[in-house]
C-alpha cells in the first residue's frame, strides 16, 4: 500500500528554517551597532562560532548516523552560534569560542537528542560554561569606540583572536561589572556612574545603543509573530518592577530600572533567548510565570549574587522549572470550563 497521508493537504507558509532565519535577521541591526561601537570583534566572533557550531553539529549527526544536511540547514545551530557570539566578549580568542560551541552544541543540545529535546538553551549553556571556566576572558570587554576615535583594525583584530597579540591594554569592565565592583568597594550608584566614563546617556556608552537595536529586532519578531509577547513582557516587566522598588527604597545602592533594562543582557535575553520555545514554558500562563521568574532571578543575581549579570543564570534556572510550570498551567479544554 502507498504511504497514507492524512489531511490537511495544505500548509501555511511557516517553516522551521524560516523561523530560525528570522531570529538571525532580527539580530542584524544589533550586530551593525555592535560593530560600530566595538569594532571587528563581533564579526570574528560570529564567523568563528558559526563555523564551530555547524562543524560540531555535522560531526554529531554523522556519529548518530542521521541525515546531516537537513539538520545543518534547519538554522537552529546558526541561531545558537550567533547568540553565543553576541554574548561573549568581542575579540575573544578562537579557543574560547571553540569551547563555548562545544558546550552549546554537543553537551547542551545533541547529547539530549538534538533540536527539540534540549532542556536548556544551548547558547546559554555555552555562555555559562565559559563564564565559570574562564572568568577573566569572559569579563574583559573591548572598550567602546568613542566619537572620532580609531578602532582596532581588521588585521590587528585577527592577530588578537588567533593569539599573537595581547588584548589587555584595550579592554575594560562592562557597565554592570563596574557598578558591582564600585558598590562593593563602598561607592554609591551615582558616584560610580559619574566616575567611570563607560556610562553613557543612561545605561552605558555603546551598550545602550546595542540594546536598543536588539529591542528593535525583538519588536520586529513580535510583529512577524516569530515570538509571542508573553515571555519578554513578563520578564522585562518583573525586572523593571523589582528594580523600581529597590531604587525607590535606596537609590544610592541600587541602580535605576532603565539601567537594569538596557545596561546588560536583559533585552537580548528577553526577546532572543527566553523566547526559545524548546527550553521554555509553552502554555500562555506558563510563559508569563516563566518570564517573571527570569526577571526576578536576574535582579537577585545582579544585586546580591557573585556574577555581574544574572540573565543567563535566570534563564537556565527557569528552563529547569519549565516542565513543571507547563504541567501546572495546562489550559482548560473546550467544554471543560465552568
Amino acid at each position: 500500500m502507498k504511504s497514507l497521508i492524512s489531511s490537511p493537504y495544505t500548509h501555511g507558509d511557516s517553516s522551521l528554517q524560516q523561523v530560525m532565519l528570522q531570529v538571525v535577521f532580527a539580530l542584524i541591526p544589533a550586530i551593525g551597532i555592535h560593530f560600530w561601537f566595538f569594532g571587528w570583534g563581533i564579526i570574528t566572533n560570529i564567523l568563528l562560532a558559526t563555523l564551530f557550531c555547524l562543524g560540531f553539529e555535522a560531526i554529531v549527526m554523522w556519529l548518530r548516523r542521521r541525515p546531516i544536511q537537513t539538520t545543518l540547514f534547519d538554522g537552529s545551530a546558526l541561531v545558537t552560534a550567533v547568540l553565543l557570539a553576541i554574548t561573549i566578549p568581542p575579540l575573544s580568542p578562537w579557543w574560547l569560542i571553540l569551547v563555548g560551541s562545544l558546550a552549546a552544541i554537543v553537551f547542551a543540545k545533541q547529547i539530549y537528542g538534538g533540536l527539540g529535546f534540549n532542556p536548556f538553551n544551548p547558547a546559554m549553556i555555552g555562555f555559562v560554561v565559559l563564564l565559570i571556566s574562564f572568568p577573566k576572558e569572559m569579563t574583559q570587554w573591548v572598550a567602546p569606540i568613542a566619537n572620532g576615535e580609531q578602532g582596532i583594525g581588521l588585521m590587528q583584530s585577527l592577530q588578537i583572536v588567533f593569539g599573537s597579540t595581547g588584548l589587555d591594554a584595550l579592554t575594560g569592565a562592562t557597565p554592570l561589572d563596574a557598578l558591582k565592583t564600585g558598590i562593593r568597594m563602598g561607592g554609591e550608584v551615582s558616584g560610580v556612574m559619574a566616575a567611570t566614563p563607560i556610562y553613557g546617556q543612561f545605561a552605558g556608552f555603546g551598550w545602550e545603543s546595542v540594546n536598543l537595536a536588539i529591542l528593535a529586532g525583538g519588536l520586529w519578531m513580535l510583529w512577524r509573530k516569530t515570538i509571542r509577547w508573553h515571555v519578554p513582557v513578563a520578564m522585562l516587566g518583573s525586572l523593571a518592577a523589582i528594580s523600581t522598588l529597590f531604587y525607590l527604597i535606596d537609590p544610592s545602592r541600587y541602580a535605576d530600572p532603565i539601567f537594569h533594562l538596557l545596561g546588560g543582557g536583559a533585552i537580548l535575553g528577553a526577546f532572543f533567548i527566553a523566547t526559545d520555545p524548546v527550553s521554555g514554558a509553552t502554555s500562555t500562563k506558563g510563559r508569563i510565570i516563566f518570564g517573571i521568574g527570569i526577571g526576578l532571578f536576574t535582579y537577585i543575581i545582579r544585586s546580591w549574587g557573585g556574577y555581574p549579570d544574572g540573565v543567563a543564570f535566570g534563564i537556565l534556572l527557569m528552563n529547569m522549572a519549565a516542565p513543571m510550570i507547563d504541567y501546572y498551567t495546562q489550559p482548560k479544554v473546550f467544554g471543560q470550563k465552568g
Binding site: 504511504s3 497514507l4 497521508i5 492524512s6 490537511p8 495544505t10 500548509h11 501555511g12 507558509d13 517553516s15
Partner: protein, 187 residues
Amino acid sequence: MFTATITLSLLAIIFGLILGYAAIRFKIDSDPVVDQIDAILPQTQCGQCSYPGCRPYAEAISSGEADINRCPPGGESTIQALADLLGVDAKPLDPEAGEVKPEKLVAVIDEQTCIGCTLCIQACPVDAILGAAKQMHTIIGPECTGCELCLPPCPVDCILMVPVKTDANHWKWPFPNPDAGLHEAQR
C-alpha cells in the same frame, strides 16, 4: 549519655507507633494479583503458555511458577503490562511458547468438508463453534479467539485460519511516516 539514649528510644517508639498506625489506617485493599494478571492476558485460552487457559497461567505467574513471557497472542504489549504490574523487567517472548502472529486470525470451517464429528466443539475453549453430531458445524466469527485448539482434533482438516477482514469500523490509521510529513505549502 543516658538522656540521649532515653530520648532516642522514645522517639523511636513514637515514630514506630505512628508508622504502625498509618500502616493500618491507610491500608490499600488491592485486587488479588491473580485477577489483575488475568485482566491483562488476552483470554485466547490457547494454552500455548503450557497452562490450560489464561486463568491457570495467571495463577502460575502470581505464584512465581511461570515467567511472564509465555503468551504469544498477547505479544510484547502484554509482557510489558505484566512487567509494569509486577514490577519486574520485561523480556522477549519465550520462543518455546510460540511466535507472535503478524495479524489476528480466526478459524473458519469449510462446510463442504465438515462431517459433523463435534470434536472441534469439545476443543473450543470459548464455545464459539455451533453444531451437533452429524450436522454441519460453523464458527461464530466474532467469538473466535484464534486459539487454534480446534485444528488438531479435526479428523478431516476442514478448519482454516483466515485473517480477520478489516472494515471501516475496525480500520486503524497507520503510524505516520516521518519522511513523508506534510504536503508542501501551497502557493
